[in-house]
């Protein structure tokens, strides 16, 4: 369903992405790991149309979507979350979910059901900016689910969460995946990746350095040096 071919992005002289190839089948869950600055979020931004790549193609359902405006790409069924949760802070949780699909719109009851599904029904009428972090992440998840996406891009869904919260998030994502949605999950918390992603891609300095099962990738020498080298 998604095929990325030789994607290259650079700004201010830095190569954020350097010839990235990636393939994702419908309904597949792919993990994306790599040290900070390796280009994971840039990859998401490029797929979503927020950044225009300098080279390469992004084929979604066989069509090259490079150059399409971001809102058009979103309407093709691609939804994403952001590193550090991005919500409409001045709206309530319920309104946030109702915003997810401006056309044809999300009904009040549908929104309530989604909040129920992610476990934050009780926060429906609270302002987004007042919610604790775990609730905010679930709200973001509810919002992307409301879009009934065919491809879900999750950027660190368990960021800054403790062990217990991470496990809950992993379970939630499992359920989402079971619904048939394809996903790419960027995550540092290995437990979550292990739980959900049978296949993993490792990025370093904008390049794919390893691909395979999680264990195989983690054992790969290049991946180890990428993390250890970067951690310094």
């Amino acid at each position: 369903m998604l095929h990325i071919d030789g994607l290259g992005v650079h700004f201010d002289g830095v190569r954020a992405l350097d010839g990235v190839d990636l393939t994702l089948a419908a309904g597949e869950a792919l993990g994306l790991i790599g040290p900070n600055g390796s280009g994971k979020t840039t990859l998401f931004d490029t797929i979503c149309g927020l950044i225009g790549p300098d080279s390469g193609r992004v084929l979604f359902d066989g069509r090259d979507i490079v150059g399409e405006p971001a809102h058009a790409i979103a309407r093709r069924g691609i939804a994403r979350t952001f590193q550090g949760v991005r919500l409409f802070e001045r709206m309530t949780a319920l309104e946030n979910v109702r915003c997810a699909r401006p056309e044809p719109g999300v009904t009040r009851s549908e929104a309530e059901q989604l909040l129920e599904r992610v476990g934050i029904r009780q926060f429906a009428d609270a302002l987004a900016e007042d919610l604790p972090l775990a609730a905010r992440r679930r709200l973001e998840l509810a919002r992307v689910l409301a879009r009934r996406p065919r491809l879900l891009l999750l950027d660190e869904p368990a960021g800054a969460m403790n062990q217990a919260e991470t496990i809950e998030m992993a379970q939630l994502l499992r359920l989402v995946h079971a619904g048939g949605c394809a996903m790419i999950v960027v995550e540092h918390r290995i437990e979550l990746v292990a739980e959900i992603c049978p296949r993993v891609l490792a990025l370093d300095c904008g390049r794919v350095v390893a691909e395979g099962s999680l264990d195989a990738v983690l054992a790969d020498a290049r991946v180890r040096s990428a993390y250890l080298g970067a951690a310094g």
């Binding site: 954020a16 900070n36 840039t42 931004d45 971001a70 590193q83």
Partner: protein
């Protein structure tokens, strides 16, 4: 033909006053990324102070001049404290709107102090205009042109070659990092505003001594002309400020010659609008500046 050359010459002269105004604007914007719309009003506050001293206290042109620049600096610091210091870096637009509100305040205060439509202001230089063949050059205008070039060069030197300038530019690029490194961001910002206000005060003083009169329209006029000149030349560029000012002056003078003073002002605004619609980054600004970037995303 002679008319065209004389007009161009006159245009360059008046343009140099615009250039001075634009330089001050640019200092605040180019360095601080904030648009200070109270700029003209702070100049007016200073010039009105000088005028008041001249009228009520029989001050000479030197005293009035120092008061004009000093008053502008004080007003500039007031604006900085109220509109810019308390609002975070990301609230640049709020600062801009707030500065507009303070413009209203300063203008009303000035008009309460000196309510008439026009007041005399002493001249700085006196003498016959220089004659270059069939062309005439007023001495005051030459002084203005010289000042614009000198101050432009001086500001460039300060920003590029001094510690203060380097620190200021560092703060613009990354205020958080600068703060963590212990640079007194607040104090630096105040000094930048004071410098910008001083430049403005000098501009206002030169304009007042050239026209030998002061009117309540000074604040609005200075803000608009400085803004147009700066935007034409490219936000954040000192070279652009001077170039934009001179260009504006020349275009205006020609427009006035052929069509009258109202068309002159109309042309200035249409030029600005067209510039923003077509090439918001101006003559010397960074390419693509002014338009929304397609992304708003962070990079991880």
């Amino acid at each position: 033909m002679i008319d065209a050359v004389q007009n161009t010459l006159d245009g360059l002269m008046i343009g140099s006053s615009y250039a001075l105004l634009a330089l001050g604007f640019t200092l605040t914007f180019g360095v601080m990324r904030r648009l200070n719309l109270a700029y003209g009003a702070t100049i007016m506050a200073g010039v009105y102070l000088g005028t008041w001293l001249f009228l009520e206290q029989d001050a000479g042109v030197a005293t009035a001049g120092i008061a004009a620049v000093g008053g502008a600096i004080l007003a500039g610091l007031y604006v900085e404290r109220v509109c810019f210091a308390p609002l975070s870096e990301r609230a640049a637009l709020a600062s801009m709107v707030s500065s507009f509100a303070i413009w209203m305040q300063l203008e009303e205060a000035a008009m309460l102090a000196l309510p008439r439509h026009t007041y005399p202001f002493p001249a700085l230089v006196s003498g016959e205009p220089l004659a270059l063949g069939p062309l005439a050059l007023r001495l005051e205008h030459l002084l203005m042109l010289g000042s614009a070039v000198a101050i432009g060069a001086g500001l460039y030197f300060v920003l590029q070659r001094t510690r203060f300038g380097r620190a200021l530019r560092a703060i613009t690029d990354n205020a958080l990092a600068a703060r963590l490194l212990g640079m007194g961001v607040g104090a630096m910002r105040m000094r930048a505003f004071a410098l910008a206000a001083a430049v403005g005060g000098i501009a206002g003083l030169l304009i007042a001594t050239t026209d030998q009169q002061v009117t309540p329209m000074l604040g609005m006029w200075a803000t608009i002309k400085g803004l147009v000149a700066m935007m034409l030349g490219g936000l954040g560029s000192l070279r652009g400020a001077v170039a934009g000012g001179l260009l504006l002056g020349v275009v205006e003078t020609h427009a006035q010659w052929y069509f009258g003073p109202q068309v002159r002002d109309l042309v200035a605004f249409l030029l600005l609008f067209a510039c923003l619609a077509v090439r918001p980054s101006g003559l010397f600004g960074a390419r693509g500046g002014g338009r929304h970037p397609p992304a708003g995303a962070a990079h991880g």
